[in-house]
């Protein structure tokens, strides 16, 4: 559980600190996986398979997430010629 | 049933107006005029049948609407509503006449709004279900907003939004209060209903009654308006087109006073009685403050607007004097103010149409070129300053007589307010009509159409000033009933 929390925090820090969008996506992966770890820990506590099932769901979902994310990042690079997350901030206010 | 018709006619005619405009641009005017006159005729018919003061509720209709909430389409007229309905349709017709040549753009949509705002006001005056009342109360804001925002003058956007915000905010407070009352009644009796007659006498704790009343008072005090909630009024009145100003001053403000009479006092007699000192103080403050403000204005319509603040102070004063004299005086003042101030706005509009300004410093000496218009201006200025023989005087003297019994100080201050009315009324006459015609205006005098409208209003004011008894007879049962509600409180 503690491991999960540390992982989650690391991911979060990465999300907020990194500018490169690919690293941001990776940070997201870490956070999601942290949640998955937490589920496994919780499932272990109750001796139920539910936690591991959830972990599988999370993996699948994270994969989908990243695939869409990478597609978008690709497009972004196409349009903006950068992977800086500051670049796509034309809309504000 | 006829009550539903009254409103349906207006809504229907309003909906037809823009369509008819495609066929003939002038058609909406006739449609609107016919609709208002038809309604006026119907109400006069009701008056002829049952306005002699023998029954309390002259007409009623009660249809279920949203039974899930205990909401009924419960409409009814007593003498008070009936008179205000007559005023509504009369001034409605006047407003149509006053806009006859003034409004030249989107005539159809204009009359739609005009008729719908009248429908909303009529709804307010006949609703006996609090939900229906609130529905109509809010509904009239939208067409009124458009009347100001589209056909108003230079600062119409500012004025219309301000008007809308003030009334809407206070209206929502009232909605919360209505619902609080609804649940309080439901919890106490097991009957969840918005029906006014059933909600009367809902047992409430002292605190609850006070706070719920405050919600109602907020809405009515803004509409009336009570100083210091009045600042939307001069802007709205001066920026609105003639019809808008006439309806605002003549009718919309009356809905606030009506609210006090119909809802605040009967529903919350104890709490209302407790705030009497505050109400009297604010009323006298309003009378004097309005008069002083009116004196300082340079914009003719703004001046007239502030006179409304002053006059409506008398209404509030009369309501919170808790005796029949003042109460009936307050109602009389409401009615007469509708005519006198409405007429002043018609005249101001006629002037603006002719010389394209409302600035008093741009006027002067108009008697020279438009004697009938100026004479009418003088007449209504005199009504405004409470000249005996005209309707306003009757109302004001009754209020003063009633208030004198309760609070000598308030009565004396209000009498000084009548004096102060002289200042602004005469100043207005001087600046606009008397003096040398320094700007060399050459303007046409009142047209027969305007003249007829004005003459009719003069006649009504004279009639109300010299023989108001039929009017008193009409609303006496309503007032007697109100007085009964009040008496138990005052006696204690």
């Amino acid at each position: 559980m503690l491991l999960a929390a540390i992982l989650f925090t690391l991911g979060l820090i990465g999300l907020i600190a990194r500018r490169n969008l690919v690293f941001v996506l990776m940070s997201l992966e870490i956070m999601l996986n942290a949640a998955g770890v937490a589920f496994i820990a919780a499932g272990a506590r109750w001796g139920q398979p539910d936690g591991q099932i959830m972990f599988l769901f999370i993996l699948a979902m994270a994969a989908a997430e990243v695939s869409v994310g990478l597609a978008l990042v690709l497009q972004l690079y196409h349009r903006f010629k950068t992977l800086d997350d500051e670049a796509p901030s034309e809309m504000r206010g | 049933m006829i009550l539903v018709w009254l409103i349906a006619i207006l809504i229907f005619a309003g909906a037809v107006a823009p369509l008819a405009a495609r066929w003939n641009p002038r058609a909406p005017r006739w449609i609107a005029l016919i609709a208002t006159l038809l309604d006026l005729g119907l109400t006069l018919g009701i008056w002829a049948q049952g306005g002699d003061g023998s029954t309390r509720w002259i007409k009623q209709v009660d249809w279920p609407w949203l039974p899930a909430f205990g909401i009924h389409l419960h409409l009814a007229v007593d003498g008070l509503s009936l008179l205000l309905l007559m005023l509504t349709f009369f001034l409605g017709a006047i407003a149509v006449l006053a806009s006859w040549t003034e409004i030249q753009s989107s005539i159809g949509f204009f009359h739609l709004n005009l008729l719908w705002v009248l429908a909303g006001i009529a709804g307010v005056f006949v609703a006996l279900d609090l939900f229906v009342f609130y529905f109509a109360w809010e509904l009239m804001l939208i067409p009124m907003y458009f009347l100001i925002a589209i056909w108003g003058h230079e600062r119409r956007q500012y004025a219309s939004v301000k008007f809308f915000l003030f009334t809407q905010l206070s209206g929502l407070l009232m909605l919360a209060a209505i619902l609080a009352l609804y649940f309080a009644h439901g919890q106490a009796t097991g009957v969840y209903t918005f029906d006014y007659l059933q909600l009367l006498g809902t047992p409430l704790s002292r605190q609850a009654e006070f706070w719920i009343m405050l919600g109602f008072v907020a809405a009515f005090a803004v509409k009336l308006p009570v100083v210091p909630f009045h600042t939307w009024l001069p802007d709205a009145h001066s920026e609105a087109s003639t019809a808008g100003s006439v309806i605002l001053a003549g009718l919309l403000l009356k809905t606030g006073a009506y609210g006090f009479l119909r809802f605040v006092i009967p529903l919350f007699p104890n709490a209302a009685h407790e705030i009497t000192p505050v109400a009297l103080a604010l009323a006298t403050l309003g009378i004097l403050y309005g008069a002083v403000m009116a004196f300082a204005q340079t914009d003719l319509k703004r001046l007239v607007a502030y006179t409304s603040v002053s006059h409506l102070g008398f209404v509030l004063l009369g309501i919170f004097a808790w005796n029949p004299l003042a109460l009936q005086g307050a109602v009389m003042t409401m009615i007469c103010h509708g005519f006198s101030t409405g007429a002043l706005f018609v005249l101001a509009g006629a002037l603006q149409e002719r010389i394209h300004t409302r600035d008093l410093s741009q006027m002067g000496g108009l008697w020279n070129t438009a004697p009938r218009l100026s004479g009418a201006g003088l007449f209504f200025a005199l009504a405004s300053l409470g000249l005996p023989g005209l309707g306003d005087f009757v109302g004001e003297i009754l209020v003063l007589l009633g208030v004198f019994r309760v609070s000598t100080g308030a009565a004396v201050a209000a009498a000084i307010g009548v004096l102060a009315a002289t200042f602004y009324a005469l100043r207005m006459v001087q600046r606009a009509f008397h003096g040398e015609n320094v700007h060399h205006w050459r303007i046409p005098d009142l047209t027969p159409r305007e003249g007829a409208a004005i003459a009719l209003m003069m006649a009504v004011l004279l009639w109300l000033g010299l023989y108001p008894q039929p009017v008193f007879n009409t609303f006496r049962p309503a007032m007697d009933w109100l007085q009964q509600q009040v008496n138990t409180i005052v006696m204690r």
Binding site: M31, L72 | F131, E138
Partner: protein, 468 residues
């Protein structure tokens, strides 16, 4: 599975099948019209099945609970999705991309939303949410040639994924404490360890995830950017389907487990902040889509009041308000969509200058929609607001009601600014207007009629809500 259970699942099944059918259809032959018609027909059948299946409450596996509310929410979701689809046709027709897959995504997102509406379990909650979200990323960024949709999609993706992570972590914490993932059975198992703290913490994290989706303060910052960047029909979809579905799950979750004092306070703070901040942010905004985004923040804040009020009145008020709000905001975005030319969306207030005089019908409908958002009588928004205040008054949430009133007054100001522009004599700077199609016209008129009808005679809906 019993037949009744299959019947109860029909809406979800039919929507999924429609998605499949559309996908196969696209594989066979690319045809915008075909995909569009397939979608609409499928959704229509799904809606019919909601009505048919909307009988007795039925638990289908521990995951899904198809009860009265779920049916109503599914109906609302399907109608809103269909509305978005109807708007999308012409919109994408004008923009020369391949629009067929859009309907696929839309249907998938709808499936996710339907699952959310029925979910009674963390797993279905999570799955539904993710199906919805991932489809949405793609929908938002569908016009990939343009910068703003792309920007919006990336922002939404990153933040939504992060919030999902919060949500999941929260779920894990709650699960760790209670040992169950069914809403109805979540309890605080032990009191002597630090596990109960985990439930508290977990629930807070779940709220974060939910509040992000609902765009509640302080998780609202993405809203205007995404609303502005996304294609107008997608924005409509986000504003209606996504909000309704997430609120459905929140309603169920809050009612079954989380109604504790601490969460009451937190949600109250969120509600107050959302109402005030949302309305204030819109105050002088000049972009119509952003205004609607900010207004959605405050509207969801209003709905929270009913949620907090609880009881039957509160729940009914939530559902009613969401229906009223969805129809209204759909009408608003329908107008925006219908007016958006091929170049860009009609999203500046100036684009609406004098609209009423040139296009009286659209102008009137947009006015009605805005007045409904402002809660004026004779529109659905009024009854909705009335219901909210009633719910609040029934449980004496006076402070929240007061905030609602203040918020409404602020809100009125910016709705009036748009109305003002429409009724002004001004001409738009760059004409983005285009003639509307029959379908758009039909959608607009239908929505306006619904908004007015619900505003004047809501009795049928009230009756449905009151049924248990």
């Amino acid at each position: 599975m019993h037949r009744v259970e299959i019947a109860a699942l029909l809406p979800i099944t039919i929507t999924t099948l429609t998605a499949l059918a559309v996908m196969i259809g696209i594989a066979i032959k690319r045809s915008h019209t075909q995909a569009f018609i397939g979608t609409v027909v499928g959704l229509a059948i799904a809606f019919a099945s909601v009505i048919l299946a909307g009988g007795v409450p039925r638990q289908v596996t521990p995951l899904l609970m198809i009860d009265h509310y779920a049916s109503i929410f599914m109906g609302l979701i399907i109608v809103s999705a269909a509305g978005s689809a109807l708007l999308a046709y012409r919109y994408f027709e004008l923009r020369d991309t391949q629009p067929e897959e859009f309907y696929l995504l839309l249907l998938l997102a709808t499936v996710g939303a339907e699952i959310l509406a029925c979910s009674a379990h963390f797993a279905s909650f999570f799955l539904g949410l993710e199906i919805l979200s991932i489809s949405l990323y793609a929908m938002i960024g569908y016009l990939k040639e343009r910068r703003h949709p792309l920007e919006a999609a990336i922002k939404y993706l990153i933040l939504a994924a992060a919030s999902s992570a919060f949500l999941l972590f929260g779920m894990a914490l709650v699960y760790a404490d209670s040992g169950t993932m069914e809403f109805a059975r979540i309890t605080r198992a032990e009191t002597d360890t630090w596990y109960p703290l985990m439930t508290t913490l977990g629930t807070t994290l779940i709220f974060t995830g939910v509040a992000f989706k609902l765009a509640l303060v302080p998780f609202h910052l993405w809203t205007p950017d995404v609303y502005e960047g996304a294609p107008a029909p997608v924005t409509a979809f986000i504003a209606t389907v996504s909000k309704a579905a997430v609120f459905a799950v929140l309603l169920r979750y809050y009612n079954s487990s989380a109604g504790e004092h601490a969460f009451f306070v937190i949600l109250s703070v969120i509600a107050v902040a959302s109402i005030l901040v949302g309305n204030l942010l819109a105050l002088r905004q000049t972009n119509v889509k952003r205004i609607l985004a900010y207004s959605s923040i405050s509207h969801l804040g209003y709905v929270l009041i009913a949620l907090l009020a609880g009881r039957d009145t509160g729940n009914q008020a939530v559902v009613f308000y969401l229906i009223a709000y969805s129809m209204t905001i759909l009408a608003a975005f329908a107008t925006v969509t219908a007016l958006s030319g091929a170049g860009r969306d009609a999203d500046e207030i100036d684009d609406y200058g004098g609209l009423f005089w040139r296009r009286p019908l659209i102008g009137s409908i947009f006015t009605i929609a805005l007045l409904s958002l402002a809660g004026m009588p004779a529109t659905a928004g009024f009854i909705g607001k009335f219901y909210l205040i009633a719910a609040g008054a029934a449980t004496e949430q006076w402070l929240l009601i007061f905030v609602l009133i203040v918020g409404s007054a602020i809100g009125l100001f910016y709705y009036l600014r748009i109305i003002e522009a429409m009724f002004s004599a001004a001409q738009p700077v760059a004409p983005v207007l285009r003639p509307i199609s029959v379908a758009e016209g039909a959608v607009l008129v239908t929505l306006a009629v619904i908004v007015l009808w619900v505003g004047i005679y809501p009795q049928p809906i009230l009756a449905v809500l009151a049924r248990r």
